[in-house]
């Protein structure tokens, strides 16, 4: 039991420029998602992330996490009820959508025939029944193209749980293969989206969250 899996070293190099100031990093709390896990993942990095649905707090933050787990159309409805659907696309600071958060940032999702926020110019489709749906478990990310992946090796493993995927497109900064190749991460300007769960993807996932803080 004492042999550790040797991986590349994802140890944190320095304290983040965000320091521990409350409000510098916010996680949008709109009722969808495992936000506690994300908050804990930042806590392990020494960062206090604030859960909020306050539009003022979100606008004032240095960095914004847009989480999401569950069904697309009901999550979008919750965004609309709080007015966040209008706010998120106007944010100027780095924004990271995770899982359903990323999918909602796309043009359209087949799940519940949902109109997305249109930040990423791509459609979200369902995996066919030729593979098990949801895809659940650890798969690799390839063709890494952003500072979000600084120090993360090609073919690194990430934890994914999803039935819908973003198609390959110009804004793709990582791809994954499950039945077909699809975009497992996207970037458009200050907006980033990852299909996988960095908060649940061991040390490599933690490195990605740390990179996001340093963008």
């Amino acid at each position: 039991m004492n042999k550790e899996i040797k991986n590349i070293n994802y140890k944190s190099e320095s304290s983040s420029p965000l320091g521990k100031l409350d409000g510098a990093l916010v996680i949008i709390d709109y009722g969808a998602g495992n936000i506690k896990s994300i908050q804990f993942a930042f806590k392990r990095l020494g960062i206090n992330a604030v859960l909020t649905n306050s539009i003022d707090e979100i606008k004032a933050a240095d960095k914004v996490i847009f989480p999401g787990v569950g069904e697309a159309s009901s999550a979008m409805k919750m965004l609309q009820e709080s007015g966040l659907d209008k706010v998120i696309p106007t944010l100027k600071q780095p924004v990271l959508g995770i899982c359903l958060g990323m999918q909602l940032m796309c043009n359209h999702s087949e799940e519940g025939n949902t109109q997305g926020l249109g930040i990423f110019d791509v459609a979200v489709k369902r995996f066919s029944n030729d593979v098990k749906v949801p895809q659940m478990g650890w798969n690799v990310i390839n063709d890494l193209k952003s500072d979000l992946f600084k120090g993360v090796k090609e073919r690194e493993f990430m934890y994914l749980v999803h039935s819908f995927y973003a198609e390959k497109c110009d804004e793709m900064i990582a791809k994954t293969d499950y039945e077909i190749e699809y975009a497992s991460a996207l970037q458009n300007d200050n907006f980033y989206g990852v299909q996988f769960h960095p908060e649940k993807s061991a040390l490599a996932g933690s490195k990605i969250l740390e990179n996001f803080l340093e963008l």
Binding site: M1, K3, E4, I5, N34, K36, S37, F40, A41, K43, R44, V69, G70, E71, N129, K132, V133, P134, Q135, M136, G137, W138, N139, V140, F157, Y159, V161, H162, S163, D177, Y178, H197, E199, K200, S201, A202, L203, G205, S206
Partner: protein, 251 residues
Amino acid sequence: MLTKRIVPCLDIKNGRTVKGVNFVNLIDAGDPVVLAKQYADLGADELVFLDIAATLENRGTTLDMVLKVAEQVNIPFTVGGGISSVEHVDALLKCGADKVSINSSAVKRPELVSELADKFGSQCVVVAIDAKQIDGEWFVHLAGGTIPTEIKLFDWAKEVEQRGAGEILFTSMNHDGTKAGFANEALAYLSELVNIPIIASGGAGTVQHFADTFIKGKSDAALAASVFHFGEIPILELKQELQKQGVPVRI
């Protein structure tokens, strides 16, 4: 390529880890939070916590444990045992559990599966099925495998899939605690029957048993307790051997 998952299971009683042999004769195997963190560092892909003595009174203790695990562990984990309501699941997910596993309560009230899937999404709903093969036919058992029912395993698996379960955790009562290998024939049939991931449980004793359940049993994940808790099978060595035999794993 999606990899096959190795899932240590931590049976919990009064906040401590235990593992029963054929569900009796409990042996203490440590502090769940310490064990969980260690497993994450050693390369486990996911963890399952089963509260085997869950009652309303100790629900708070379990929620505390879930919160502590979520704080310290950077891989996904499932919590099961004594879960029978939407409110309870809500509390567990809010404490940081990634998935919940329901068993007897789903058999007693199948609507629970649909309610949980609708409210929280299929991805966090694991239906655990304990079944025993009697005269060639697999029957679902309740309450940790102690109470037989007339429900057939494969009918029940199909129903929970239709109701929105995201995953099935199948424990063979005939194999659990024997360390003689998983129920690969039933597992392979199950894996073809439904289109959601299957976690194999019951019977892990050797590295080859894991290889067999992935290759012959077509399982998506394999769960075990004592072989991991007592260090009989180191996870890294297990994964290296699986890789040698062509099973995709995360190393």
